[in-house]
Amino acid sequence: MGGRVNEDLIKERRKCTFDIKELTHIIDCGEENTIKRKQIDNYILNIKELWDDVPEEYLSHKERYENAIKKAFIVLKVLRQLHTGNIQITDHRTPTNVYSIQDGIFRNVNPLLIHIGLFWSTIAAQASTEQQAEWLQPDSSMIGTYVQTELGHGSFIRGIETTATYDSTTDEFILHTPRLSAYKWWPGGLGNTANACLVMAQLYINGTCHGLHIFLAQIRDFDTHKPLPGIKVGEIGPKMGFNTADNGFLGFDNHRIPRTNMLMKNVQVLRDGTYVKPKHDKLTYGSMLLTRVTLISDLAYQLSKAATIAVRYSAVRRQSPIKSNEPERQILDFVSQQHKLFITIASSHVYRVVGLWMWNSHKRVTADIHEGNMGQLPELHALACCLKAISSRDASALVEQCRLACGGHGYMMASNLPQIYAYTTAAVTYEGEYTVLLLQTARYLVKFWRLAAEHKPLPQNFAYFEDYIKKNFEQWRNSPEGIIEGFKAIVAGKTKAAYDTLQCNLRNGREFEEAWNMASVQLTNASEAYARSLLCEVFWKETVQLSTKVSKSLAIVLEQLAELYLMYWALEKHGDLLLYSTISRNDIEALQSRYEELLALIRPNAVGLVDAFDIRDEVLCSTLGAYDGRVYERMMEEASKSPLNEDVVNESFHKYIRPVTMKNKL
C-alpha cells in the first residue's frame, strides 16, 4: 500500500492528550503480551499462503470452505510450534488478544475453531485421568468438534433426543438418532472437517434414562475420511455469517462405541451397567459456562474493531459544512455522530474489564469446585447468563450502530463492518439464547427477592433489596456512585414488579409455570437491569482502582469514558430511574448536559482511544478503518479486486441483455 497518512488523522493524533502505548499495554494485560502479540503477528504475516489476493467472500460457498481449510491447517501447525506441541492446554481460553491475527487470516471463522477451542478443553475437563492419557496425545489423529444442539432443540438441552444406550453384552454404547428433529445441527467443523466428536446424548441403561452425558465418537475414517457406517454427516448450508465455520449435521444409525468412550471424570458407567452419579449435576455443563465467560472478552474485541473503523472513518469523512461559508466538517464533529460512536469505545472497555473480572471469578469458583465446594457456582451461573445475554446484544447493536454511522460505505463488505456484525449477532442466539438466559438469571433474582420479602437474611450483594423494601432511599446524586445506586434501585423495583405479578397470578389459581410465563416479560426486564447495574458497578470500581496506578493524563480519560458509560445508560433508562429511584426531572436535564459535556471532552481523544486498541490493518481488514485513513483510495483499490471488473464486458450482456435491448431493433 504505502502512501501518506491522511492529514485529518495526523491532526487528530497530535491532539491526543495521553500516552497511547500505556493504554495499549493495559488492554493487552501487560506490555509482555503486547510484545508477544506483535511477534506472533510478524511471524504469521510472513506466511504468504495465509493471505488472499482476492477477498475470500468473492468465492463460491464451497471454494470459501476449501480456502479456509487450507489456512486452518497452516495456522494449527503454527500454533503447535508456538506451544511446542502442547495445544491441549486450557489456558488457551484465557481472554487475550495475543492471537488476534487469526481474525485477519480468516476474515470469517476458522473451521477448526471448535477443535482448538472446545474439543480438547472439554476432554481435559470432563475425561478421566486414564482417558486423558489416552486421548491427549500430541500426535493424535483426531480432528474434533463438540456436538450438542439438534434440529429440534437448542438452549433447552434437556430436550435433546439423541440416545446412547448401554449394551452390556458387548460393553458398548449404541448412539442413535431416533427422528429427524434429533439430528445434530450446527457444530462448527462438523460438516466436512472433523473425524471425531464429543456428543451430548441421553444415557439409557436397562431402560432407565440418566439424562445427558458426553461421549467421544469417531465419525470418519482416519485414513480415508469417509463417514463411518451408521453415520450420516454433512454441512448445513450458507448462513448470515460464519460461512467458513463448516457448521454441520450428524445423524447416528445405531452407531456403536466402546463403553470407555463416555467421558468419565465426574460420572461413570461400570462394566455391569451400574451408573455412578456425579457429585453435582451441573458439572456436565462446565464447558458452556466457560464459553459464556470467554465470550464477553471476545465481544469486547469485536467492539473495539468496529469502533476503530467508524471513528477513523468519521475523522476522515467530511460532509456538509456546519456553517455555510466554511469548509465541510469532519463528521466526527457532529454531536449526533459522537453520540453513536463514543458509547461504543466505552462499551469495549466495559466488556474487556468485566470479561476479565468474570474470568477471574470463574477461576476462583473452579478452584473451589476442585476442593469440593460448589457454593459459588449458582451465582457464577446467574452472572454468566445475564452478562452473556446483554453483552452479545449490546455488542451487536453497537457494531450495527457503528456500521450505519458510516453511511452507505458501511454496507460495503470491504469496510468489514457487515462481517463483524454477522459475527457478533450470532452470539445473541448461540451458547444459550438471549431470553432463555435472562430467565435463568431471573430465577436467581426472584429467589433473593423472596428472601427479602419474607424478611429473611440476605447476602451482602443483595442488601439493597432490603433497603428498597424498607424504602431506605438515599437522596439522588448526579454522580457515578449515585447512578450505580439508582441502577440497583431499578433492579429492586423491577424484580419486585415481576415478583408481584408472579404472586398475583399464583393467587389467581394459576400453576407456577403458567404464572411464571405470564410474568416473563417483566422477569427478563429485571435480569436486564441486573446485568446493567453489574456492568456499571464493576466498570466504575475497576476504573477508579486502575486510575491510581496509571499516569494522570490517562486516568482522566479513563474516568471520562467510565462516566460517559454511566451517564449514557442513565439517560437511556431515565424512565426507570424516575419510576424506581429518587431522581427528579431536573436531575435528568442536568445529566443530559453532563453527557453532552463528556462527548465534547472525549472528542479530541477519540482517534487516540481507538489507536490504543492497536488493531493492525491486516486484522481490521477495512478500507474505512486503516491506520493511514486513505479511505477513498482503498475503496477504489478493493473495488478493482472484484472479479466482475476483470472483463470489460461480462458475458451475460451478450447472453441475456443484448437479446432484450436489440429485440425491437431487429
Binding site: 476449501e66 438452549s155 469417509k226 448450508g237 457532529f334 455522530q337
Partner: protein
C-alpha cells in the same frame, strides 16, 4: 410435498375472522386482491423456466450473472404485458412492485433501477422534446439506464457533489469531468456492468459560473458491443452486505462530451450561447425525493411482513421446553416473551402499511396542488416523508432482526430467508437519505414551526396543528390509560421536546454561540424530537384509518384490528415510558396497569397470530423460507435445503487429501 403441520392446522382453525375479508380489506378491495394475485401468478407459474441452484452457493460473479438472467426474464414478461396492453407508463410501478415482490431474486435486480429511477426521472425532469427522444427507447428497453448521483466522497449532502458538467458553447456540448478521486460516482444500481446509459447528477458550469447540481443523460457503453465509451471509467464497487446482484457501480469521467440537449431541461435550461435560465421553482426536485421515500416506506412493509410471517409460523411449529413435567413441549408461540417479540412486529406491519398508504394519498393530493402552482404544503409533506422514511426503515429493520433472533439459531441460516430480508431492508436506513440527516431535516421544519407558532395568525398545516393544541392545553389532567390518551401523550412529548430544543438553542445563542453550533449541540435531542413527531403521525393515522376502514367490516375483523391498534399504541407507550414520565402526569401505578394491559393484549391476540400473518398473503414462492412455509414442514425443509449444498455432493472434500491428511501425518 407432505402434509401440513398439525399445530399450524390447529392455529388456523382457531382464527376468529374471515381470512379473505381481511386480505381484501388490506388490499383495498377484492378487485385489487384479484389483480395482485394475477400478477403474482404470472411470475410464479413460469419460475421453472429459470430454476437454478440457490444463489447463496454461487460465487459473487455467478450471482451477478444469475441476477441478469432472471432480470431479463422479468423484463420480457413486463414487455409481454405492455404488448397485451396490460401495463403502461402510468401504472407500471404497481406492476413492477408486484413483480419484484413475487420474484425470487434475493440478491436484487441490476435492471430494477432502470424502472425505478431512470424512466421516472426522464418523465419528471426531461422537456417534452427530450421525452419524445428518450422515453420510448427506455420503455422498450432499447437502452438500459442507471442513476448516478452519490459519489465516493458525498452522499446525502447533495450540494457537496464534485462531478462537473461544463458547457462548451463552441461545440454546444457539456464536458463531464471527475476532478478528484472522491468525485467518482459510487453506488449507482446496474452501473457496473449492466447499464449503457445513466442519468448523471453534476455541478453545472457555464460562462465560468457554477449553477449547482443538474441532471444529464449520458451514454456509457456502446449499444452494440457494450464497450465503455472513451472518457468513461466504469466498474463494479464490489461485495456488499447483501443485494449483490444489483451491480452497484463506480463511474469516472475524463472530458466526456455530451450534446447540450442531454441536460434534462424541463425546469432549468442552458441556451446555445451558454445562458442559464433558472427554473421558476427550485423546489420541484423535492417532489421526486418525496415520492421515492414513500415508495421505500411501502417496501419496508413488504420486508417486515415476510419476516413476521416466517417467525410467527416457525414459532407455532417449534416446540421447546415442557412447562409442566410429563406434558408435551410447548409451542414457543405460547411463551409471553416470544409474543412480546413477534406481535408488536405484526402490529407494525399493519401500522406502517396503513400509514404509508395514507401518506401516498396525501402526497398525490399535494402533487396535484403543485401541478396547479400551489407549493404551500411541500415543506410539510417533505418533512413528513423524511421522518417517515427514517422511522419506517429503522422500525422495519429492527423488528425484522427481532423476528430473526426470535427464531434462534435457525434464523441465522440463510435458507430461513431472514438474514437476506434483514440485510436488504437495513440498506434503506442509509440510502436515499441517511436516517439521522433526514430526522434533522424534519426537526428543522418542526423548530421553525415552533418558533412561528405564536406569530401564526392562520392555521398551522394539518400534520403539525397538534403542536398548537398541545401547547395551549399542556398536560395537566390526570393520565388515563387509553389509546386516545396515549396519542395525546405523544403529542405533548413531541411538543415539549421541540420546545426544549428551541429553548436550549436560544440559550446557547444568547451566550454567544452561532446558530449552527447551537443546532449541532442540540442535535441528539432534535433527532429524538423528530422521532416523537413521527410516532404521533403513525399512531394517530393508524388509529383513525382503522376506525374508518372497519366501519363496514364484520365485528370479528373490527375487533382484531382494534386489538392490533391498541397493542401498537401500548407497546410504544411502554417503549417510550421515559418520555411520558418526563412530560406527562403518568404515574407508577398507571405504568403497572399499562404493563398488565399489554400482557392481556398479547394473550388476546395470541389465537389469531397465525391468521394475522396468513392475511399478508405471501406465498411460499415469495417467502423463500424453510422456516416460514405455509405447511410448516420446518425440519424437513431445513434438511432438504442443507442437502442442496455442493459441499454435501461428495462424501470427502478434496482438501482432506491435500491438507488434513498431510497435517495428521506431520508432513504439512
Amino acid at each position: 410435498m407432505g402434509q401440513m403441520n398439525e399445530d399450524l392446522k390447529r392455529e388456523r382453525e382457531k382464527c376468529s375472522f374471515n381470512m379473505n375479508d381481511l386480505i381484501n380489506l388490506m388490499d383495498g378491495g377484492p378487485d385489487k386482491t384479484k389483480m395482485r394475485r394475477e400478477r403474482e401468478d404470472i411470475m410464479i407459474s413460469r419460475r421453472d423456466a429459470y430454476a437454478d441452484i440457490p444463489e447463496e452457493y454461487l460465487s459473487y460473479k455467478e450471482q451477478y450473472e444469475q441476477a441478469v438472467k432472471k432480470s431479463a426474464y422479468v423484463f420480457s414478461l413486463l414487455r409481454r404485458l405492455q404488448h397485451e396492453g396490460k401495463t403502461n407508463l402510468h401504472n407500471y410501478r404497481d406492476v413492477m412492485a408486484n413483480f419484484l415482490r413475487s420474484s425470487d431474486v434475493g440478491t436484487g435486480f441490476p435492471i430494477a433501477i432502470h424502472y425505478i429511477m431512470f424512466i421516472p426521472t426522464i418523465m419528471s425532469q426531461a422537456s417534452e422534446e427530450q421525452q419524445a427522444q428518450w422515453l420510448q427507447r427506455a420503455w422498450d428497453c432499447n437502452i438500459v439506464g442507471s442513476y448516478a448521483q452519490t459519489e465516493l466522497g458525498h452522499g446525502t449532502f447533495i450540494r457537496g457533489l464534485e462531478t462537473t458538467a461544463t458547457y462548451d458553447p463552441s461545440t454546444k456540448e457539456f464536458v463531464l469531468n471527475s476532478p478528484t478521486l472522491t468525485s467518482y460516482k459510487w453506488w449507482g444500481g446496474g452501473l457496473g456492468q449492466t447499464a449503457n446509459y445513466a442519468i448523471v447528477v453534476a455541478q453545472l458550469y457555464t460562462k465560468g459560473e457554477c449553477h449547482g447540481v443538474h441532471l444529464f443523460i449520458v451514454q456509457l457503453r456502446d449499444e452494440e458491443t457494450h464497450m465503455p465509451l472513451p472518457g468513461i471509467k466504469i466498474g463494479d464497487v464490489g461485495l456488499k452486505m447483501a443485494l449483490n446482484g444489483v451491480n452497484n457501480g463506480f463511474l469516472g469521467f475524463n472530458n466526456c462530451r455530451i450534446p447540450r440537449n442531454q441536460m434534462l431541461m424541463k425546469h432549468s435550461q442552458v441556451l446555445e450561447d451558454g445562458t442559464y435560465v433558472r427554473s421558476p421553482n427550485s423546489k420541484l426536485n423535492y417532489g421526486a425525493m418525496v415520492f421515492t421515500r414513500v415508495v421505500i416506506a411501502c417496501d419496508m412493509v413488504n420486508y417486515l411482513s415476510k419476516a413476521a410471517t416466517i417467525a410467527v409460523r416457525f414459532s407455532a411449529v417449534r416446540r421447546q421446553c415442557q412447562s409442566k413435567a410429563g406434558e408435551p413441549e410447548s409451542q414457543i408461540l405460547d411463551y409471553l416473551t416470544q409474543q412480546h417479540k413477534l406481535l408488536p412486529a405484526v402490529a407494525a406491519c399493519y401500522a406502517l402499511k396503513v400509514t404509508a398508504g395514507k401518506l401516498w394519498d396525501t402526497f398525490s393530493i399535494v402533487n396535484e396542488e403543485m401541478i396547479a402552482g400551489n407549493y404551500e404544503r411541500l415543506p410539510e409533506i417533505h418533512a413528513l416523508s423524511c421522518c417517515l422514511k427514517a422511522i419506517a426503515t429503522r422500525d422495519a429493520a429492527s423488528f425484522i432482526e427481532t423476528c430473526r433472533l426470535a427464531c434462534g439459531g435457525h434464523g441465522f441460516t440463510y435458507s430461513s430467508n431472514l438474514p437476506a430480508t434483514y440485510c436488504n431492508a437495513v440498506a434503506a436506513c442509509t440510502y436515499e437519505g441517511e436516517n439521522t440527516v433526514l430526522l434533522l431535516q424534519t426537526a428543522r421544519f418542526l423548530a421553525k414551526t415552533w418558533q412561528d407558532i405564536d406569530n401564526e395568525n392562520g392555521k398551522l398545516t394539518p400534520t403539525v396543528e397538534y403542536l398548537k393544541t398541545a401547547k395551549v392545553k399542556g398536560y395537566s389532567h390526570e393520565w388515563v390509560n387509553s389509546v386516545e390518551n396515549i396519542v395525546y401523550g405523544f403529542q405533548v412529548v413531541s411538543m415539549r421536546k421541540i420546545a426544549s430544543c428551541v429553548k436550549s438553542m436560544q440559550t446557547r445563542v444568547a451566550s454567544g454561540a452561532t446558530f449552527e453550533d447551537a443546532w449541532n449541540m442540540a442535535s441528539v435531542q432534535l433527532v429524538s424530537a423528530a422521532e416523537a413527531h413521527c410516532r404521533v403521525m403513525i399512531l394517530s393515522t393508524f388509529s383513525s384509518e382503522i376506525k374508518e376502514m372497519t366501519r363496514t367490516t364484520s365485528k370479528e375483523i373490527k375487533r382484531v384490528l382494534e386489538q392490533i391498534v391498541t397493542l401498537y399504541a401500548v407497546y410504544w407507550a411502554l417503549e417510550r415510558l421515559s418520555d411520558l414520565l418526563q412530560y406527562t402526569t403518568i404515574t407508577g401505578a398507571h405504568v403497572d396497569n399499562l404493563r398488565a394491559w399489554y400482557e392481556e393484549l398479547l394473550t388476546q391476540l395470541r389465537p389469531n397470530a397465525v391468521g394475522l400473518v396468513d392475511a399478508f398473503d405471501l406465498r411460499d414462492e415469495m417467502l423463500q423460507s424453510t422456516l416460514g412455509a405455509y405447511d410448516g414442514r420446518v425440519y424437513e425443509r431445513l434438511m432438504e435445503a442443507a442437502l442442496q449444498s455442493p459441499l454435501n455432493a461428495e462424501p470427502v472434500n478434496y482438501t482432506f487429501q491435500k491438507y488434513l491428511k498431510p497435517f495428521l501425518q506431520g508432513k504439512l
